[in-house]
């Protein structure tokens, strides 16, 4: 009989280690792991079940977006930004379009600004529902919350498909506005979806918020202090869960966000439960923004007529544009040398920088908590590895 499995190498139980202290078990929650939301790897050394050391390892989805962008025209890189954070393609487009507009000084017409806000807030809705679903999946509630979340996501993806043509890769924004105007009947359909959303949120909260198991497993887990969050450059819902009032829609007031009344939810413990609750509350705020934006959507041009679609050459110089993407501050830093191709195309990935403090949050907790803490950070590998 051939050897079914090689005998484990000679056990290293040397007598010297017999003074009762435990040895560390090196295990890697590797690239292919149900809890890592993609190809993300963590080398964890465990003392029994508690985490002693955690080293995140990236690069398994490094698709060289920035090198490819250096050989593409400015328009050619737009569909590539869909594939950065492949849950929210429209906010990626908006960040890229915004930084090119600051680089070239393009003015965006009114209607296009409203369309941008409407589609971006719809993206935020579907991203946060998916996150809540995946977080519950990580916690063991496999199936039910994710089914509810994806049922709502499909409705929003139908809206994107009838507007831009693709479910996930919308490629919707151009420098100076949007690519295509609303088809007939789209606005009514969108209004019904947005009107039905708060009822779904109540259903979702009734299903999850009071759940004792959820509270027992997430409250007090992965606490992130305010100072460490700021110093480590954490942005987005994770930062606001630690109580820092920093939301680019209110700070930078990019686009026309200053015209809408909405509040910024802030957490005070900074643990996994707060991050989940922040995202649920942010969904309610996004619904408010959507209602206001769809109510006073003006008529008019959807694209600035002066900017050329093809052979677009901004003047030499550099610009850094950033927006509040559902994951955090997504920024594009473009250096142009006057040719149709950007000289340097840099993406500021919120997911990667939010992972800086993953080890600080996970030390001392056991392996099951590491899975939930990673789930609450909400990373998407396309954006982390670019």
């Amino acid at each position: 009989m051939t050897t079914l499995a090689e005998a484990p190498p000679k056990s290293t139980l040397s007598p010297s280690a017999s003074n009762g202290d435990t040895q560390l078990l090196e295990v890697s929650m590797g690239p292919q792991h149900p809890s890592t939301h993609g190809v993300f790897r963590m080398d964890v050394s465990l003392d029994g079940e508690t985490v002693v050391k955690l080293k995140p390892i990236f690069g398994y989805l490094h698709r060289n977006h920035e090198k490819i962008a250096e050989n593409e025209t400015y328009l050619g890189s737009m569909p590539y930004t869909d594939r950065l954070d492949y849950f929210c393609s429209i906010t990626n487009n908006w960040a890229y379009a915004l930084s090119v507009e600051t680089l070239a000084g393009i003015v965006v017409p009114e209607r296009a600004e409203y369309l941008r806000v409407i589609t971006a807030e719809l993206t935020r809705l579907q991203n946060h529902t998916c996150l809540a679903g995946f977080l519950m999946q990580d916690m063991g509630a496999s199936g039910t919350p994710l089914m509810y979340a994806f049922r709502e996501r499909e409705k929003i993806l139908d809206l994107f498909e009838s507007l831009t043509g693709a479910r996930m890769m919308c490629n919707y924004m151009r420098f100076g506005g949007c690519r295509v105007d609303l088809p007939a009947g789209w606005l009514e359909q969108a209004k019904t979806v947005v009107a039905a959303f708060p009822k779904f949120l109540d259903e979702f909260e009734a299903l999850l918020n009071g759940n004792e198991i959820l509270m027992a497993r997430t409250q007090g887990v992965g606490v992130l202090s305010k100072e460490l969050a700021i110093n480590a450059g954490v942005t987005g819902p994770m930062l606001r869960a630690s109580g820092v009032n920093y939301d680019l829609r209110k700070v930078d007031k990019y686009g026309i966000y200053d015209r809408f009344q909405f509040r910024i939810p802030l957490g005070d413990h900074g643990d996994v439960y707060d991050r989940y609750m922040i995202r649920v509350l942010e969904m309610r705020e996004s619904v408010k923004i959507l209602e206001q934006a769809m109510r006073d959507l003006p008529e008019g041009l959807i694209q600035d007529p002066k900017t050329k679609v093809r052979n677009f050459k901004p003047k030499p110089g550099e610009a850094y544009g950033r927006i509040e993407s559902p994951k955090g501050e997504l920024g594009f830093y473009l250096v142009s040398d006057g040719t149709p191709r950007p000289y340097r195309f840099r993406v500021r990935p919120p997911s990667l920088i939010n992972l800086t403090i993953l080890e600080d949050m996970c030390l001392g907790r056991n392996v099951a908590d590491v899975v939930i803490i990673l789930g609450s950070v909400d990373i998407v590998m396309g954006e982390v590895d670019r």
Partner: protein, 203 residues
């Protein structure tokens, strides 16, 4: 946040640091401040801790490769087959590698201050001070610049390759990086890709 008063204040607070304002010709008007590597940490510490500045959030750290102007054009159009050992040697180190820091203040909510640091040349062992001790958000981004550009950051706690595998020896985001050629099946090869395919078939 105009740069002139900030420059004067920094020169007064951090003696001997050579500051220079790099103007940005594009309409975004985001001018930047070139600081010399020796006083980088001191300037950064001051920017973060000064009461009225409070730049406690380093949003973005970017590496840019500026080969010397003459060879930048040449690097792009240079035909792969010609061997240019002599030219290769000196033009590889001409020019400089640059690291750009975008700083914001979460407390005071005011706009970007952009710091730039430049290395002496583009060789393989170029050093710059790491600002991880001031802002922890620069940790992974500096490791990425080390991985893709080859800038060694002194004082970085854990300078390893972050995106490429550890046995990899090149720095792929540099302008003169030559890709390994595996172009067996390129049915729609034209211009740039066509040249690489022909090189592959020529071998």
């Amino acid at each position: 946040m105009t740069l002139e008063p900030l420059k004067l204040e920094l020169e007064e607070k951090v003696p001997g640091c050579g500051l220079e304002i790099i103007s940005n010709p594009s309409p975004s008007a985001q001018h930047s401040l070139l600081i010399d590597p020796e006083h980088a940490v001191a300037v950064a510490m001051y920017l973060r801790d000064a009461a009225h500045l409070r730049f406690d959030y380093c949003s973005n750290v970017t590496g840019i490769d500026w080969p010397a102007p003459n060879d930048a054009g040449k690097a792009k159009l240079k035909d792969m087959e010609e061997d240019l050992e002599q030219d290769e040697a000196d033009c590889a180190t001409a020019g400089y590698l640059e690291v750009v820091y975008h700083l914001y203040s979460m407390e005071k909510k005011h706009g970007p201050v952009i710091l730039r640091m430049r290395t002496c040349d583009r060789g393989l062992r170029v050093h710059l001070p790491s600002l991880v001790s001031v802002w922890r958000s620069a940790d992974f981004q500096e490791r990425e610049i080390f991985d893709l550009f080859g800038v060694i950051f002194d004082g970085h706690p854990d300078l390893r390759r972050i995106l490429m595998w550890d046995e990899y020896t090149d720095h792929p985001m540099r302008r003169d990086y030559v890709e390994p050629d595996d172009y067996e099946y390129e049915p729609t090869a034209h211009d740039e890709v066509l040249r690489k395919t022909m090189n592959h078939y020529a071998k």
